[in-house]
């Protein structure tokens, strides 16, 4: 098929497949602005234009990062925070997925639950903090609850929406080809809803860190939030910045992970066709 051969040309590679210099230039381009900012920052700090009480120099931050790492303190805090984030994500995301699948698939469950869930959704999760402290005290369950709550709605709504917007034509086709209810669900409905569910996952990963930061700054005896709040007591601006940067790094990691999942699960999607 000559038409097929034309479609087979891998897209998206044309830019990167140029000569060596163009290749390096393209890889370096996204880092240009951050590096320039770092240089200006370091310059402003070392000439005294930027007082370290206000913002420490990049070099001081790096130094305190190395110190925190060698004492093992950093690792402990990162581990505790990641555990909280992931367990909250598992609970909230799992519930959101299950309820989204149920309301999306069964009309009566939608009628029963959706109004309630939409009302709860419109309450800003952070407005619940006083109550949460009252209910759970200031131990782990309060943080778990807040993270789970923040993660729940993006996944719930996108799962629900994904199932509702599965192509009717494909459903009709599946039925006329004699697929059983379960086969129809597994072969048509779930894969059809998956792109939308993954959008929910990416949104909720963002909320996951926000909720965790809030929870950890309110009250904690460990974790990155605790580390930064503790540093504030002693005016250790360098440690505070390390904490903030750690959040950024972890957020980026989570995003990469969800992108990887998308690339694997949606490899059939026209948007991912270059990775054939």
């Amino acid at each position: 098929m000559s038409a097929g051969a034309m479609v087979d040309v891998p897209r998206g590679r044309t830019l990167a497949s140029g000569n060596g210099i163009a290749n390096i230039a393209e890889r370096a381009l996204p880092w240009l602005v951050p590096i320039a900012l770092l240089i200006v920052w370091q310059w402003a700090s070392s000439t005294g234009r930027l007082p370290s009480r206000f913002l420490p120099s990049p070099r001081a931050i790096l130094k305190s990062f190395v110190e925190l790492r060698s004492s093992g303190e950093l690792w402990t805090h990162v581990r505790v925070s990641t555990e909280r984030a992931l367990s909250g994500f598992a609970v909230g995301g799992g519930l959101g997925l299950i309820l989204g699948l149920l309301t999306g698939s069964f009309r009566w469950v939608e009628t029963l639950l959706d109004t309630t869930l939409q009302m709860i959704r419109n309450i800003p999760a952070l407005a619940l903090i006083p109550l949460v402290i009252l209910w759970f005290g200031i131990d782990e369950s309060a943080k778990l609850f807040l993270v789970a709550l923040g993660v729940f709605f993006p996944i719930y709504i996108n799962t629900f929406h994904g199932i509702q917007s599965v192509d009717r034509g494909l459903l009709e086709m599946g039925r006329s080809y004699g697929l059983s209810r379960w086969a129809l669900y597994r072969e048509v409905i779930l894969p059809g809803a998956l792109p939308s569910i993954l959008v929910g996952v990416r949104f909720s990963l963002g909320f996951m860190w926000v909720m965790l930061i809030v929870a950890e700054t309110i009250s904690a005896r460990s974790g990155i939030g605790y580390m930064t709040m503790n540093a504030r007591e002693f005016m250790q601006t360098d440690v505070m910045v390390v904490g903030i940067l750690l959040y950024a790094l972890l957020g980026k990691l989570a995003d990469l992970l969800s992108k990887g999942l998308e690339r694997y699960w949606l490899r059939w999607h026209p948007a991912h066709q270059s990775a054939r």
Partner: protein, 277 residues
């Protein structure tokens, strides 16, 4: 394919003489069927008998109910009145497959898995065979998104054929294809129908396509059969031939006549179509 048939009887005799399986196709009987969609009556007391192995084309203007008819045969529409029976007796449940205008392939399954939809893995060799029959054996492990429109319709055809249907319904399957691909697909469908001997019902806008493929062309108008024409042209049919053109013209004029009576008379005179038929 080069044999010349003068009439339906001769066609049948020829089929029997060839030893072609005449039992695979099933008769379809549509009796007194009425269907309303959204309060509007689409089909009214619709009556058609389709004998085994016949290739019937249903033509008509947009919205005349030809797709609805097809969808009701496979049970996607509910009948208000009447009955549709497929097969010789009520006990048998013949395998009916439908091909839509859009291919409706599952984009998350590779071509071969799409063909073998709903079948277990023991059917994989059979799916591969059918895929080779439609000329796409080398694309078995590609994603549907990488195929052209014509190739997708071929896969959809293979998916319908892998079940070895006794009745194949074709809902404008070539409507969205370019002219060349369309002719290729018509030849493919004709060849497969000829070799397998299922009953086929094709819904189409294209009168020439109907005459090329069908034993019989039915024109639907106002919810009923306006014209039921037996196409006694030898296969394969040459579009250029005088009889082909005459038949095409006759059906087209009949379609246009309806419009002429619908719009005001002055315009009809300008068209000069009143005297036809």
């Amino acid at each position: 394919m080069s044999t010349v048939f003068a009439s339906r009887e001769q066609l049948k005799r020829q089929i029997l003489a060839e030893g072609r399986q005449y039992s695979r196709g099933v008769p379809v009987s549509i009796r007194q069927v009425s269907i309303a969609l959204g309060g509007r009556t689409v089909l009214k007391d619709f009556d058609v008998e389709i004998p085994s192995c016949e290739f019937v084309a249903v033509v008509g203007r947009s919205g005349c109910g030809k797709s609805t008819l097809l969808r009701s045969i496979i049970g996607l529409e509910t009948l208000q009145e009447g009955a549709i029976s497929i097969g010789r007796n009520a006990q048998s449940r013949p395998d009916v497959r439908i091909m839509f205008q859009d291919s409706r392939l599952l984009p998350w399954k590779r071509v071969l898995q799409n063909v073998a939809l709903g079948l277990d893995s023991s059917f994989t060799p059979q799916a591969e065979r059918v895929l080779a029959q439609v000329g796409l054996a080398d694309r078995a492990h590609d994603w549907p998104a990488t195929l052209s429109g014509g190739q997708r319709q071929r896969v959809a055809l293979a998916r319908a054929l892998v079940h070895d249907p006794s009745l194949l319904l074709l809902d404008e399957p070539l409507g969205a294809l370019d002219a060349l691909t369309r002719i290729e697909m018509q030849e493919l469908i004709e060849k497969i129908w000829w070799n397998r001997g299922f009953t086929a019902v094709l819904v189409t806008h294209d009168v020439a396509e109907a005459i090329t493929l069908a034993d019989r062309v039915i024109l639907i108008e106002g919810g009923g059969v306006a014209l039921d024409l037996f196409v006694d042209l030898p296969r394969p049919r040459a579009r250029g031939s005088a009889r082909f053109a005459a038949m095409e013209d006759r059906i087209l004029q009949r379609v246009l006549q309806h419009r002429a009576s619908a719009i005001d008379e002055a315009k009809a005179r300008v068209n000069g179509n009143e005297e036809v038929r």
